[in-house]
């Protein structure tokens, strides 16, 4: 006969208001097997826990049922208390009398009856609980960081400084991400490259960081502590070891007129190129779609059409025959820091749910540019050397109109979220413009100013008060070409006045969007994303850098629109999580996972097909002479998440989920 203790918590008024806790405790006294049943105001408090511990010790309880809140909240608390009193923690269970009962009912009598039912349910279940032991699995103490923007750089450096090896994978030829394209940063106006490039160099020099630029994650196998990651190293057409970064190839490339991605099409690059002078690694890449050599080859021309770069290369590093190669790395944790893309102002949108802005000319008017293009114009290393000049005719614009919320907070265009950074970067643009163009007039159309952050609102006020930017509240209806100016039709909703402004340039504060290929990466990592493509955190408040796949963490704008300070903070948080994981050689996890009865298993492998985590492995059972008798399913203890799908599917009833065995569930249900 069992010796079960029942502990009913009032949770202050949370449960006590609706459920008669005294009656529940009295009722449970009479259940066979229950030897002790009490109620108490706050069971999770120290005195509450002491009541449980005392009862376990004095009454030799072999099971504890706590009727309180959701096990999400305090299961750990009570199991630890039980363990402290010498009871196996998995012999302690919670009945949820708050979320499942008091919070959702009004009738006190009936709610109390239900609470009694919930408690009895757990009492019957716990009679079949077995003592379980924590599972320990080995951890490969190296990390993979995907994405070499500021978030990825920060995470990699923090983990590396913590003494662990890091593999940093970046799909572009250089690390640096969007931050390397920015001119100055809000709200302090320090030069973006000046604060970023030291970090980039640090990555290159760090003994614990292995940088794989121009590379992408091909596949991910395994589980927390034990991932195998296959990485595609895209062919640069340049031997990274031989190249000394002298730059002769770029100087001599005959194709000098390719709109450069780094300058957002405002500047030109060559077919063999390094995206920007401070690139890390400083190794060029050949753009095969634009290179004469490859174009000639594709057309079937036998003789090499061009080979200028190879001719002038001292160390003979040009390798036209280079192919993509693959490396596989074993890591224990993965930080995803893949960043964002900018909303495209062109007509073509890659998703069917998105619409372009025909009313703003779909970005076809040359002096209508996006925010990142303005950054390139304002950047000292940009195509104009930091002068604000119009793309159409190179003249200095005397009036610039900035439009906020382009591709954000706009349900009709398919994006209703706030992009968070645009209010701040527009204020920065207005200030920079005021610094650079003496009598320049900045006019900003905004909807609301969202400047929550240290020094942020002050920064916006500075744009208005010191840089004399005129802020008009409203959305612009349409842009009209008017000779070589752009007529902006808007309204100031605060005064109700329609306004028409002749602008020399219009800057669209385009929104941050999720990366276009996020779905395939998320699939490889078994992590989820929202309908806009931003990766989902495990809990929006309490687990903001974790994902629902153990061992995979998030940093930066891949999770939602974020500015630099937020991205860096998140990266450091993810790094702390990784270092925490790596602080032990063995990883502990709850034993509530599936277990296969290998004698009963018929080897049909239905479980393998339905398992969402790939946790089912095949194991050969052999006889004494080493002959294979049969092949059966085995559960990988590191991968199994305890969802129970295999148990529900198994035709021979040979899989059981620990803590939720058929025996336990039937007993519990029969109690109702």
């Amino acid at each position: 006969m069992s010796r079960i203790g029942v502990f009913i918590c009032h949770c202050g008024e949370n449960i006590g208001r609706t459920v008669d806790c005294v009656r529940v405790a009295h009722n449970l006294e009479n259940v066979p097997g229950v030897v002790h049943s009490i109620d108490y105001k706050y069971m999770c408090s120290d005195p509450g826990q002491a009541l449980i511990k005392q009862a376990i010790r004095e009454l030799q309880l072999d099971g504890v049922v706590v009727g309180a809140c959701s096990p999400h909240m305090h299961e750990k608390t009570f199991r630890k208390a039980a363990a402290a009193a010498g009871l196996n923690p998995y012999l302690c269970e919670m009945a949820n009398l708050r979320e499942h009962c008091s919070w959702i009912h009004e009738d006190r009598e009936r709610a109390t009856d239900k609470a009694i039912g919930l408690a009895r349910f757990m009492v019957e279940k716990i009679k079949y609980n077995r003592p379980l032991a924590t599972i320990r699995i080995p951890v490969e103490r190296r990390a993979l960081v995907i994405g070499g923007g500021i978030a990825g750089i920060q995470a990699a450096l923090d983990i590396a400084d913590g003494g662990r090896e890091v593999i940093l994978v970046e799909k572009e030829p250089s690390i640096g991400g969007h931050m390397s394209q920015l001119s100055e940063t809000f709200p302090t106006l320090d030069c973006s490259q000046c604060i970023l490039t030291p970090r980039m160099v640090e990555v290159a020099q760090h003994p614990n960081i292995q940088l794989l630029a121009y590379s992408e994650v091909e596949s991910v196998e395994g589980y927390i502590g034990n991932f195998q990651v296959k990485i595609r190293r895209k062919a640069r057409s340049v031997d990274e070891i031989k190249c000394n970064g002298c730059g002769e190839c770029q100087k001599n490339c005959p194709n000098q007129k390719i709109p450069g991605e780094f300058d957002r099409g405002l500047g030109m690059r060559t077919a063999i190129y390094v995206p920007f002078p401070q690139a890390v690694p400083n190794i060029p890449v050949i753009d095969r779609a634009k290179c004469a050599f490859y174009r000639g080859k594709a057309k079937g021309v036998k003789k090499a059409v061009c080979g200028k770069c190879a001719e002038v290369c001292g160390p003979k590093a040009i390798d036209f025959d280079q192919q993509d190669s693959f490396v596989t790395e074993e890591v224990g944790a993965i930080v995803v820091a893949t960043g964002y893309q900018l909303y495209s102002i062109g007509k073509a949108q890659e998703s069917e749910t998105l619409r372009g802005y025909g009313e703003y000319g779909y970005g076809a008017i040359p002096d209508v540019i996006d925010g990142l293009q303005f950054e390139r114009l304002a950047s000292a290393s940009g195509p104009t050397g930091g002068k604000i000049l119009r793309p159409s005719d190179g003249k200095e614009p005397k009036t610039i109109v900035f439009l906020q919320c382009i591709g954000s907070r706009d349900r009709a265009k398919g994006i209703e979220y706030c992009s968070k950074i645009c209010c701040m970067y527009v204020a920065k643009h207005a200030i920079l413009y005021h610094h650079k163009v003496d009598h320049g007039r900045a006019i900003v159309f905004y909807l609301d100013i969202r400047a929550g952050g240290k020094g942020y609102d002050e920064f916006v006020r500075r744009a208005i008060e010191e840089s004399h930017a005129l802020y008009l509240r409203g959305r612009v209806s349409r842009l009209f070409r008017n000779g070589d100016t752009i007529c902006v039709h808007g309204v100031d909703t605060l005064s109700g006045e329609p306004v028409a402004i002749d602008a020399d340039m219009v800057v669209l504060a385009t929104a941050m969007r999720a990366q276009p290929d996020i779905a395939s990466l998320a699939q490889k990592l078994s992590i989820s994303y929202d309908r806009h493509g931003f990766l989902n955190e495990a809990h929006p408040k309490l687990r903001p850098v974790e994902t629902n796949t153990a061992g995979v963490y998030l940093a930066g704008a891949c999770q939602s629109p974020r500015d630099i300070p937020d991205s860096v903070a998140m990266a450091s948080a993810a790094a702390a999580k990784v270092l925490g994981l790596f602080s032990n050689e063995l990883l502990e996890r709850e034993p509530l996972i599936a277990r296969v009865d290998q004698l009963a298993c018929t080897g049909c492998f239905h479980c393998e097909r339905v398992c969402p985590y790939g946790a089912i492995e095949r194991k050969q059972l052999k006889d004494g002479k080493g002959r294979v008798i049969k092949i059966v399913a085995e559960v990988n203890q590191g991968v199994c998440q305890g969802c129970g799908t295999c148990q529900a599917t198994c035709p021979s009833k040979s899989v059981e989920l620990e803590g939720f065995t058929d025996e336990q569930v039937y007993a519990a249900v029969n109690a109702l």
Partner: protein
């Protein structure tokens, strides 16, 4: 929540909230969209061809609707200045339909404040609909004549009549369609749907 208790806010000229009138729910039912959608970006007013002539701009009309300040809305000229060019509806970022809301407001205003409709505009609509009621189609010479009588603008455009005639653009004899009774039935049925 019970709001029937008198509150100090109702003293003086300040509107007390929530207002007792229920114009908002009428509009919501008529157009199947909730004006609460509007976040006052003003893109509607910014693109409105008549904005410069309106005392209430489109976004202000929607705002007054959100506040359910019916009298101010229904007695305003502005709702009658809408050309139904649908620019606002096409560009509304919240997929609201200001043009439909204004049509619905006009329909109510016509019943509740018929004498506040600008004379020239009500004269035109009446003359136009009279033509359809009489002939089933609009007979333009008759439209102009009826409009002039109703609006009192007797001499405007008179000089253009010879030009119109010379170009064969003005017929002098109206033709009535055979199904005129059917058309009249439509008119009377649509009229009976209106209260009073």
């Amino acid at each position: 929540m019970n709001t029937s208790a008198p509150s100090p806010a109702s003293a003086g000229d300040i509107h007390s909230f929530p207002p007792a009138k229920s114009l908002l729910s009428k509009i919501r039912n008529a157009i199947g969209l909730d004006p609460v959608l509007c976040y006052q970006c003003g893109k509607c007013s910014a693109g409105c061809p008549m904005a410069s002539e309106m005392d209430l701009k489109t976004h202000e009309i929607i705002r007054l609707l959100q506040l359910d300040l019916g009298e101010r809305l229904l007695s305003s000229d502005s709702i009658w200045l809408c050309l139904t060019c649908e620019t606002c509806t096409t560009r509304c970022p919240m997929e609201f339909d200001p043009a439909a809301a204004i049509d619905a407001l006009r329909e109510i205003a016509l019943r509740e404040y018929p004498d506040r409709v600008p004379r020239s505009i009500s004269a035109f609509h009446s003359a136009f609909l009279d033509q359809i009621r009489m002939h089933g189609r609009v007979f333009e010479f008759g439209l102009v004549a009826f409009y002039k009588l109703r609006s009192g603008a007797l001499f405007g455009d008179v000089e253009s009549v010879p030009g119109m005639l010379a170009r064969g653009k003005l017929g002098l004899k109206p033709k009535r369609i055979q199904g005129i009774q059917e058309v009249r039935r439509i008119f009377s049925q649509c009229a009976t749907e209106k209260p009073r």
